[in-house]
């Protein structure tokens, strides 16, 4: 399982899984978009580069996912696939660099509300080797 949605009254909450932290982060990005569109249908037409930083893993995740919301609002970008992703650094100064594929959002029928913000509400980053997961509540 890449991710699963959890009950939440006003917003959308999910857990995303992966053998590595990179995989869990990638699946979290897909979970964010899957609130709005069936990401399986989105074609990988355009490539975007994403760079983000964070002082700890939570802020790294927050800043990484937020870059997608900026791409969505500013460039109408829907995510299809995370092609490459690399997390580097250590506590105090993490970096993430990714290459992602997606398409123009206007081409797709949306299935739900727009994700407007990432939040720290109930956020978890569990970096257990071979069995990572992250938990995020997004504002919709």
């Amino acid at each position: 399982m890449k991710y699963k949605y959890l009950p939440h009254t006003a917003d959308a909450k999910f857990r995303a899984f992966g053998e590595s932290l990179e995989e869990a982060f990638s699946n979290a990005a897909l979970a964010v978009f899957n609130v709005m569109v069936d990401t399986n249908n989105v074609k990988g037409q355009v490539t975007k580069k994403i760079d983000a930083e964070g002082t700890d893993l939570q802020s790294l995740l927050y800043n990484f996912l937020e870059k997608f919301l900026i791409l969505l609002d500013a460039e109408n970008f829907f995510l299809a696939e995370v092609k490459k992703i690399k997390i580097s650094g250590k506590e105090g100064s993490y970096k993430i660099a990714a290459e992602v594929l997606g398409d123009d959002a206007a081409k797709y029928e949306t299935i739900g509300p727009q994700v407007k913000a990432i939040t720290y509400n109930d956020m978890v980053v569990d970096n257990e080797k071979g069995n990572c997961f992250v938990q995020v509540v997004v504002d919709i």
Partner: protein, 410 residues
């Protein structure tokens, strides 16, 4: 009760002298708010044209995910708009001066400083001005169902049952969210968050450099939302003009904000203090004596709007002196969700919800069926109860109830 976060539907009034300002206490959608227009038409005159009207509104005003506005502003235009709000929109031919006179703060926060806003916020905001967005945001054509206070209703331009009103509920789109997010990060870096029970409680002293930068960037977000609603109302009038032939009589009753922080004077323990009043999912509800109340409503009190969920009633209330004493001049902002969006999508089918609404003579138009399902009325608390509490406690007195005729939802 342990204080572990700001609830939606909360007010936090904090001394400006030695207190703080917190983005989490205002909400991400800065100046999410409600604007109401009254008209001279009766429901009987509008209903035969309703479907055509909804189609026209849906075409004129972009809504939903990934659909940008009619115009993408240049960066310079954007900065000017952020500085001047509704005034900017008026100067470009959107609406009339009378709209600004009937808007909280006249639609223009002069403390706004666009230079305190990040490039990311500007990038998110530029393509979205003049759009409704998605989620619980909507345009609604309504009729007056019942009037509880005729004198106040008349002052608001609400004259008789059956009279048609038009409502818009939306905010500052991705722009406001990015401003909140940017300053949460900066406050975390400067002041830390490990001592807080929830990261969303991060804050800065109101009078610190960072606190003031956030306050003035937040005011730019307020201006964005005011300009947004000003443009949307202009297109609503244009839609009526096209379909009905005229927009005569479509006068703005008021425009209220329900995600804001403002500097206001209130009595605390018998002493008048200057406070930074955070209203998150709460509406200002000032009585007739407050100097902030727009000239046209001096001696009446400010109009307050509490929209219901899709297919249920909305209410017009009037601000009270009691609210100033009990809740720093605030009341509720809406019905509030009872069921999660995912749960609602699992429980209701959009097509069926729309068909049931149509049986009750309410038409709905949305970018997606799922959007209708997630906003289905049973997913929300009973609006009548919410307003009854506000009325009985005195936080805002009920003036009139409005029933929906047609809804465009984002």
């Amino acid at each position: 009760m342990a204080f572990d976060g700001f609830p939606i539907g909360g007010v936090a009034a904090i001394d400006t002298e030695d207190g703080i300002i917190s983005p989490g206490g205002i909400g991400y959608d800065i100046n999410c708010g409600v604007r109401l227009l009254r008209t001279d038409w009766t429901a009987d005159e509008i209903v035969p044209k309703l479907k055509e009207l909804l189609n026209e509104l849906f075409n004129q005003i972009p809504s939903g995910v990934g659909r940008g506005g009619q115009t993408k502003l240049s960066k310079d235009e954007m900065l000017e708009m952020l500085a001047k709000g509704s005034k900017w929109a008026l100067e470009r031919g959107y609406g009339a001066k009378a709209d600004l006179d009937a808007t909280e703060e006249c639609g223009w926060l002069k403390q706004a400083e666009p230079n305190f806003v990040s490039d990311s916020a500007i990038a998110r905001g530029r393509p979205q001005l003049g759009t409704l967005g998605a989620g619980n945001h909507f345009l609604e054509i309504q009729k007056v169902e019942e009037i509880y206070d005729e004198k106040t209703a008349a002052a608001f331009g609400i004259e008789k049952p059956g009279q048609v009103t038009v409502m818009v509920h939306c905010g500052s789109r991705g722009f406001g969210h990015q401003v909140a997010s940017d300053y949460i990060k900066q406050m975390e870096n400067k002041y830390g968050f490990s001592h807080l029970p929830d990261r969303e409680l991060v804050n800065a002293p109101f009078n610190s450099e960072l606190g003031q930068r956030y306050f003035r960037a937040m005011c730019a977000g307020m201006n964005y939302a005011f300009a947004n609603r000003q443009m949307i109302v202009h297109w609503m009038r244009a839609s009526f003009k096209k379909v009905i032939g005229t927009d005569y009589g479509m006068r703005q009753v008021y425009d209220v904000c329900h995600n804001i922080a403002k500097v206001e004077k209130h009595k605390v323990g018998g002493e008048t203090k200057e406070l930074c009043v955070h209203r998150k999912g709460a509406t200002r509800s000032f009585g007739m004596e407050r100097e902030e109340v727009n000239d046209m409503y001096k001696g009446v009190g400010q109009p307050v709007f509490i929209p219901g969920s899709m297919s249920t009633a909305s209410y017009i209330l009037v601000g009270t002196k009691e609210a100033e004493e009990k809740s720093f001049g605030s009341t509720a902002h809406g019905a509030g969700r009872e069921m999660s969006r995912k749960e609602a999508i699992m429980s209701f089918r959009g097509e069926k919800v729309a068909a049931e609404m149509e049986k009750r003579n309410i038409l709905v138009k949305a970018a997606s069926w799922k959007g209708i399902a997630e906003e289905a009325a049973p997913a929300y608390k009973d609006i009548n109860e919410v307003v009854k509490v506000s009325n009985d406690v005195g936080l805002g007195k009920a003036v009139a109830r409005l029933a929906p005729l047609g809804v465009v939802k984002g």
